[in-house]
């Protein structure tokens, strides 16, 4: 029997019609063991999340090499289920570019993750980072919040054609800021990971910027991936649009092939 995506959410059955990609996730200390990883995979299987790209809290805390190595180790264990973000910071411009090159030389990383650290993303301290991004053509996900995108869109415009994902788009209900930023920045994508689920917000974003620039991420293990996927499953959108948000946009951004996944 075939169900709509909404019906799958209503019934609590895994999404099997396409491989769901989680474009914004974390992997941290308390999961970094056999049981933790097994639990993560079980949860992904129960919802139908085929592949998740993670960064680590260690890197967020400026332990870049250790944190990125932890993400890489997870990918080595389960290359068909996980990808890794290389996480660096503009507050360490002396080491960030080399760390990005180191990570991507390994072949285990698929994107660059940045956090807001009181330095605007178009600050000269980020110049070295954007140089490497342009050279290696790396998709970038950044934590942004509420009214303050900290010029992430401006930075995106210095790297035309490279996907820049604005994390937590619409947070603090500032969805218009994100929409406006996306409308003036053709390579800016709106990442939906956010603890709240403002009524009609996803639909408004899709209408304004187009379904091809809205991307799903869960921000797990900050909070529940099972909650986050419901935001899209129940959205007042067609299943084709939901598939774009949950799968095909990220597949294109991270250059993932359907055949890579086994559900």
């Amino acid at each position: 029997m075939s169900y709509t995506l909404k019906e799958m959410g209503q019934r609590g059955v895994p999404i099997t019609t396409f491989p769901v990609i989680d474009a914004h996730a974390h992997f941290d200390f308390n999961e970094n063991n056999e049981a933790g990883i097994a639990d993560r995979l079980r949860r992904m299987d129960r919802t139908g999340i085929a592949w998740t790209i993670v960064s680590t809290g260690l890197s967020l805390g400026a332990e870049f090499k250790r944190g990125n190595d932890r993400a890489a180790a997870l990918v080595e264990l389960h290359p068909d289920r996980f990808g890794a973000y290389c996480h660096v910071s503009g507050n360490y411009p002396d080491i960030a570019p080399a760390e990005i090159e180191r990570c991507f030389a390994s072949g285990l990383f698929k994107g660059l993750k940045l956090y807001q650290t009181d330095v605007d993303f178009d600050d000269p301290r980020f110049d070295g980072i954007w140089e490497v991004v342009r050279k290696l053509r790396i998709p970038v996900l950044a934590h942004t919040w509420g009214d303050n995108l900290t010029n992430f869109d401006k930075a995106a415009r210095t790297c035309p054609g490279i996907p820049f994902l604005a994390g937590h788009a619409g947070s603090a209900f500032a969805y218009r800021k994100y929409i406006d930023a996306a409308l003036r920045t053709p390579n800016l994508y709106l990442d939906l990971s956010y603890s709240r689920e403002h009524t009609n917000m996803i639909e408004t974003m899709v209408t304004a910027v187009g379904a091809n620039r809205v991307v799903w991420g869960s921000d797990v293990a900050t909070f529940s991936m099972e909650h986050q996927i419901g935001k899209v499953l129940f959205a007042d959108l067609t299943d084709d649009v939901k598939k774009q948000i949950l799968y095909s946009n990220s597949a294109e951004i991270f250059n993932l092939k359907f055949a890579d996944f086994t559900n």
Binding site: T199, M201, T222, H227, F234
Partner: protein, 255 residues
């Protein structure tokens, strides 16, 4: 298997700072309930979030509900310091007539602007009456110091307290509170979504103290539904969380 859903955290009616994409009227909110398969909702008047006159908010709440059996009134605390009983008798009479089944003791989305104490010296008459009537009280937790919750539960040990808007990162204070106070309950709405839940909560506290809530009209219920439906817990637990727990609490009310 499908489950009945009873929403513990839902507002109706207009309020001053509403964004244009957010539903507000009764018809719009009921349409949302229909869309998400929610059979009933415990509703408050959205105007109370602007700290408007609570007694007028309660009156308009009843008017808006207009005998719709799917919408169960949750009144707002209508303190009257000019009456000897602080307004209790008057409000309880109105609640009885309106078949209200719960009472908000602070304002949704306005907890940082708490205009009264939650202590016995201010709310004693009210909360003793609620305890006696088994009328649950709703408490908006976001921004509220956890000490307030602990003190409330200690001073009124028989009071049923439903916390809403506990953050997903709130377990550090929530778990000790739940262990200390058996009459404390938690609504999922609008962001009690820690990773690993609701399994973790059920493992530690059982399934009878977790209650479905959405945060409508501001927050859409879809994620909360999948938060429970995809959980590795029994159907009994899911049914309890989705509706049985709230129904049990509200059926015990003796106004």
């Amino acid at each position: 298997m499908s489950f009945k859903i009873f929403d513990s955290f839902c507002g109706i009616g207009r309020w001053a700072k509403r964004d244009i994409i957010t539903p507000s009227t009764v018809d719009e909110v009921v349409a949302q309930l229909d869309r998400f398969g929610i059979s009933r909702a415990l509703v408050y008047s959205n105007r109370i979030r602007q700290l408007s006159q609570a007694d007028e908010c309660n009156q308009t709440l009843v008017e808006m509900i207009n005998n719709n059996e799917r919408l169960i009134p949750a009144f707002s605390l209508a303190l009257n310091p000019y009456e000897a009983d602080n307004g209790v008798d008057s409000c309880f009479g109105l609640m009885r007539d309106a078949k209200a089944r719960a009472l908000w003791i602070n304002s949704p989305f306005a907890s940082k602007k708490l205009t009264h104490s939650l202590r016995r010296w201010q709310l004693g008459e009210w909360l003793d009456r609620c305890s006696k009537a088994k009328l649950p009280v709703l408490l908006y937790a976001e921004g509220l110091p956890p000490d307030n919750i602990d003190t409330l539960c200690r001073e009124f040990p028989d009071l049923k307290v439903i916390l809403t808007s506990v953050m997903y990162s709130g377990d550090s204070f929530l778990y000790p509170l739940l262990r200390a106070h058996p009459n404390l309950y938690v609504s999922l709405g609008h962001m009690y979504i820690p990773a690993g839940n609701p399994e973790l909560f059920v493992r530690h506290h059982g399934y009878k103290r977790l209650i479905f809530g959405s945060g409508l009209p501001d927050f859409s219920p879809g994620g909360m539904i999948t938060h429970v439906m995809y959980a590795d817990i029994s159907d009994t637990a899911k049914s309890a969380i989705f509706s049985d727990n709230l129904a049990t609490l509200l059926n015990e009310v003796e106004l």
